[in-house]
């Protein structure tokens, strides 16, 4: 079985300076911001590893590949992915993938076709633009079925058992592969860590890197969200006096007092 997981390393927006948000353009330098694996992608990566663990104990061969599209991939993320058991880490190197979801999906679809994967796992959030379109566009490109809002995937005898949220509630579906599964809120909320030893061994495994060109759909106008509110602070004298004022504010309408 061949599994492809599409993932991203994104800036943590809390570490971006307010001064940068205020004058933000797609060119603003926020390279200083702390970065992390997107949380939904981390779940997808871990789910793939767990499927691999399960099937391997049954003597089945499983290949897990991880692909990302962007300007660069921090070396330690590559190292970590190899160390936890991904057979190949692929970077489709491109500038400004933020406003090109169709082109991103095309590139990922190309990669998916080439690799003949049985299952493609993605997160549910795009980069900072967060349009959430790529998994669906990938499904369209590959003409493959997709389940969104996936919580868990487990290998069973006749396919994959997928727990996923739908408009009608939480479902467990046994599906036939190939399929795309887009992971949403999952109880699997982190990717496992690898030991330093495994990381050291993985350090030498090179990144599969390819240059790709994207076409931009549009560059939207981005503006900082200003607060329209002005805050009145309750006097800080004592908790008792604060609670006294709060009590008045929180009174339930029609309350008999």
């Amino acid at each position: 079985m061949r599994i492809l997981v599409c993932f991203k390393v994104l800036p943590e927006f809390e570490t971006v300076l307010e001064s940068d948000w205020k004058n933000f353009t797609p060119q603003t330098d926020i390279t200083y911001a702390r970065r992390a694996l997107n949380c939904f992608d981390a779940s997808a990566l871990e789910i793939a590893l767990r499927i691999k663990d399960t099937l391997q104990t049954q003597g089945k061969e499983v290949l897990c590949h991880a692909a990302t599209l962007g300007t660069a991939l921090p070396a330690f993320v590559r190292k970590m992915l190899y160390a936890v058991g991904f057979g190949q880490v692929i970077l489709l190197q491109a500038e400004q993938p933020e406003f090109a979801s169709t082109a991103v999906a095309e590139q990922l679809a190309g990669l998916a076709r080439e690799g003949q994967y049985d299952m493609i796992l993605t997160g549910k959030q795009a980069g900072y633009a967060d349009t959430g379109k790529v998994p669906y566009l990938l499904a369209e490109q590959l003409r493959m079925p997709i389940l969104p809002e996936v919580q868990m995937v487990e290998a069973v005898d006749n396919g994959m058992e997928v727990t996923h949220q739908t408009d009608a509630g939480l479902y467990c579906s046994t599906i036939q592969l190939p399929a795309i599964l887009s992971v949403g809120n999952s109880p699997v909320n982190a990717m496992r860590a690898a030991t330093l030893l495994a990381q050291l061994q993985a350090a030498k495994v090179p990144l599969e890197q390819r240059q790709v060109t994207l076409w931009e759909e549009e560059v939207p106008r981005l503006s900082y969200v200003q607060s329209e509110k002005t805050c009145t602070m309750l006097p800080e004298d004592t908790v008792a006096s604060q609670v006294e004022s709060l009590y008045e504010l929180l009174k339930i309408e029609g309350d008999a007092r």
Partner: protein, 480 residues
């Protein structure tokens, strides 16, 4: 003494409302944030001794009466205020009493002429800092525990802040204090700029971790608050030793930026998500204080960096600003399953040493730990407090614990600590830069202090002959 009788007696001294014996309060007051305790709690385990009750005196008089009573009845007592300990220093003895000074929270006096502020032991540092900021002053003291720590605990643990290279540690900031000895005697050390009247008695309490007395009141220096005049700059440099040499050069030449930090490659990955150049260490500088001095400091640092001969990448000021914005976020999440969700125990361990050895200690630890501790997942370090003679290294580490029973997190944790402390002692460094001994570093104290160690026992004998105060910190039991 029977527990009920103990509680009754204490209630007579401080009032029933201030003696708490419900399990929730006792457990909450026994919480420590050392890595394996956080992990154990996340797994639903609480391996800490159960105290009989928590006593919250309202004033010095009550502290004195409570201690006199406890001393007379030889009841083990664990002092505490804010409770940000990461060394098990405030974990109680079984059926002992937790003496909690956090209700004594009041700024008593700010003296703008003599540039000092006096506050009771339970005054939160964050509150004090804001109180001062509003009046145009600062304490200059910013430990990462800022959102939790109280001033009494800061003095008792020899705390240090992120801006220490300019302002110094709490020992440089403390002017005078009031403390209560085990027998209830109240002692005051008056507020003066300097004195030549024998040994400095403040140091009996600074870093005593509550084993020589209970600090009830603290007077600290204050400084003009001028954050608008700050200078900030970040650089990337290859090699930890090169970074250490560069910092040394800045300090030795006499410059005192308030923040001087050097994060190693591993931390650039683990703390900053690889946002900075790969295989490089990260240098963060911040200068503050009088405008002209700040400018001169900034200019000098830039020149020293430019002429250092190392290949250095200029990262501008944003990395420092971003670090400032999020540096204490950790504190709000102390009890969250941040690491344990990866099945890992994570923590820090800080040591210090002279310039000539600090790099060797760092290198030895980096070499030994991954070899000897099988399940390590991360090991990094940073220097964050520099002096003319040397600096500290703050090791940050994580190891996988998920495959073992919860109880085994602790021995594995101690294995990592042992390597760090052994390598430090071997090279003449100090095994605790600012977290204190607590109850987990005690066994290394004889080596740390060498021939001067017996003095600590003599002090204990003199100030707390019945040995009721914070058993387990600093002094190895049955040493004599």
């Amino acid at each position: 003494m029977e527990k009920s009788q103990l509680i009754q007696n204490l209630e007579q001294l401080v009032g029933a409302a201030h003696v708490l014996s419900d399990e929730e309060t006792i457990l909450e007051s026994s919480k420590d944030y050392i890595g394996f305790r956080r992990y154990e709690r996340d797994k639903g385990k609480f391996f800490v001794n159960q105290a009989a009750c928590v006593v919250k005196p309202q004033n010095t008089q009550q502290v004195s009466e409570v201690l006199a009573f406890l001393n007379k009845n030889r009841i083990q007592t664990t002092p505490r205020t804010g409770g940000s300990s990461v060394t098990m220093s405030i974990e109680p003895e079984p059926d002992g009493v937790i003496l909690d000074g956090s209700d004594m929270n009041e700024v008593l006096e700010i003296n703008e002429t003599d540039m000092m502020v006096t506050a009771r032991c339970g005054t939160p540092l964050e509150y004090l800092e804001e109180y001062l900021n509003k009046r145009g002053f600062t304490t200059g003291h910013f430990p990462q525990s800022l959102p939790m720590a109280h001033v009494g605990g800061l003095v008792a643990t020899r705390s240090i802040g992120q801006l220490s290279t300019l302002y110094g540690g709490i020992e440089d900031l403390l002017v005078g204090l009031e403390a209560v000895l085990a027998d209830g005697t109240v002692v005051r050390i008056k507020n003066n700029p300097r004195r030549s009247v024998g040994p400095d008695l403040r140091h009996l309490f600074l870093g005593s971790e509550g084993m020589l007395g209970f600090i009830t009141e603290v007077t600290m220096k204050i400084f003009p608050y001028k954050p608008e005049d700050r200078w900030m700059h970040a650089y990337a440099i290859r090699g930890m030793q090169n970074g250490l040499d560069l910092i040394r050069s800045i300090i030795v030449q006499g410059y005192r930026p308030a923040v001087v930090r050097l994060h190693d490659e591993a931390e650039v990955e683990s703390l900053f998500g690889g946002a900075y150049p790969e295989e490089h260490c990260l240098l963060l500088f911040l200068a503050e204080g009088p405008k002209l001095l700040t400018e001169a400091t900034g200019k000098a640092v830039e020149e020293i960096v430019a002429n250092s001969g190392y290949e250095i990448i200029d990262l501008g000021q944003k990395p420092v600003e971003s670090w400032l914005q999020t540096r204490n976020d950790e504190c709000a999440h102390m009890d969250e399953p941040v690491y344990s969700k990866y099945g890992a125990v994570a923590d820090t361990c800080e040591i210090s040493a002279p310039w000539s050895e600090i790099g060797n200690i760092y290198a030895a630890v980096k070499e030994r730990v991954p070899e000897e501790v099988k399940y390590m997942v991360s090991l990094g370090g940073h220097s964050s407090h520099s002096y003319i003679n040397g600096t500290n290294i703050y090791f940050t580490f994580g190891f996988l614990a998920s495959m073992k029973p919860v109880e085994e997190a602790r021995p594995k944790y101690m294995q990592v600590i042992s390597i760090i402390l052994e390598e430090t002692l071997k090279r003449g460094g100090s095994i605790a830069h600012h977290h204190g001994s607590g109850k987990y570093r005690t066994k290394w104290m004889p080596q740390e202090h060498g021939t001067s160690y017996p003095l600590l026992y003599k002090l204990k004998e003199a100030l707390d002959p019945n040995g009721i105060l914070n058993k387990g910190v600093l002094l190895v039991e049955n040493e004599e």
